[in-house]
Amino acid sequence: MREFVDTAAEAVSRITDGATVLIGGFGNAGQPMELIDALLESGASNLTVVNNNAGQAEAGLALLIKERRVAKIICSFPRQPDSWHFDEAYRAGEIELKLVPQGNLAERMRAAGAGIGAFFSPTGYGTQLAEGKETREIDGKNYVLEHPIRGDFALIKAYAADSYGNLRYRKTARNFGPVMAAAAEHTIVQVDELIEGCLDPEHVITPGIYTDTIVRIPSSSGAFQRAEDEALAAGRPKPCAAPADEAPAGGDIAPESESAAAGAAEQK
């Protein structure tokens, strides 16, 4: 049965030593910071953690690693300018690292949630990261056999949950959330908002079947959403909308407007 709890501490209280914990987020977007802090507080150790990175600076996952509570990390991009706690643990041989290309990481968790036994991915073929793995040529293209990554627990952040445990996310904070929710035995979600009643069934991103424990922890996402709601209600563009003269035309119907300029796209 789904449970709604009042504190992050309660939410993570089931997590025991040796558990595999999928932790959502990409950068700060979608990162369940308060749940990670609660996990730190809980004392659970000998964890296997799956996250895109390996902790940054003096917060969250970095502190779990600093305290040597993470025996093994499965991630795509551990090395960052401020990943000093991971770096130290790794060089000391006190943490095991499984490096997985980011798309394979996502797809391997998707496979876990979808009951797929293994799949052939083209990503990484012919590279060091495929060494020792089974390969196969299919229709003239080379693939590497990849296996599911399952979690005992997932810690994710969504924007809102309704009383049925259905979730919606905000913008790129969606990232690993839906995939991890389905890949874990028990999914723990922190949300900015609890909706009384229910989300529109057409707009549910993670159906309640994938959520187990939900705790409301307001974060800055709520402030951003309120600013957006206010702007839309007042007939103004969303705050995050590119200036009109930068907006490119879309399809053949409304062929006006402008271009796209990305910020620096680091492959983190």
């Binding site: 394979n104 073929y125 080379n142 690993f176 930068e246 879309g250 796209a260 990305a262 492959q267 983190k268």
Partner: protein
């Protein structure tokens, strides 16, 4: 490598010049070569600058692998929304027609070949299009791959944007990569300050443009690589 327009050159700029291209000129050249209506992912660092030269009329849609199509320019001031970042974790904006999706869907979009072009940086590219851009292979370095290997095979065409020579003067185009590979046979074009090179599984490098270097000089730098002059010069 499914480059069907290898000989296309959408700019009117001369194919052979005495001076190497500036970074701006190179970005401009790539932007001009991207077909109207394309879906494009621009990788780490230098490739990002291509977006500055994508004219609105071309209706190019930018993908960011952390789950968005229709990414706009970097956000500033009140535009900044911590839930809206690009793959470099920098706040960006949203363009009309944008859509959000989760990580598995986003990388499925790349792996499935739905993007038209990825533009990536490189340490080295081989004559047959092998790419090395994720690791210098230095012993003791902590490895980190991110989305590099997914991006390498993540579009109908993968373009590399790079300086042709390292600061030490080594050429970054080679018969075979000596750095750890990111992908095998995945690069179809190299856009460099010293020229544009079209690659395929034959290993014969078609030289489309040369800037600040002659064909003979290039061949001297690449004694083991078979070059074909397509500059028309």
């Amino acid at each position: 490598m499914t480059d069907t327009t290898q000989n296309a050159q959408n700019t009117q700029a001369p194919r052979v010049t005495d001076q190497p291209l500036t970074q701006q000129e190179l970005a401009q050249l790539i932007a001009a070569d991207i077909e109207p209506g394309s879906f494009v992912n621009l990788g780490i660092g230098q490739p990002t600058t291509v977006s500055d030269y994508l004219s609105p009329e071309k209706q190019v849609t930018l993908h960011t692998e952390n789950g968005m199509l229709g990414m706009g320019p970097q956000a500033h001031g009140d535009q900044i929304d911590e839930d809206l970042i690009n793959a470099g974790k920098i706040p960006v904006t949203e363009l009309p027609g944008a859509s959000y999706f989760h990580h598995a869907d986003s990388f499925a979009m790349m792996r499935g070949g739905h993007l038209d072009v990825c533009v990536l940086g490189a340490y080295q590219v081989s004559a047959t299009g092998d790419l090395a851009n994720w690791s210098t292979g230095k012993p003791g370095a902590i490895p980190a791959v991110g989305g590099a290997m997914d991006l390498a095979i993540g579009a109908k065409d993968t373009y590399v944007m790079m300086d042709l020579f390292t600061k030490k003067g080594d050429i970054k185009l080679a018969q075979e990569c000596t750095f750890p590979l990111t992908g095998v046979g995945c690069v179809s074009r190299v856009y460099s300050d010293h020229g544009v090179f079209l690659l395929d599984e034959s290993g014969v490098v078609k030289v489309r443009e040369l800037h600040g270097i002659t064909f003979a000089e290039l061949q001297e730098k690449l004694p083991d690589v078979q070059l074909e002059d397509r500059t028309g010069a």
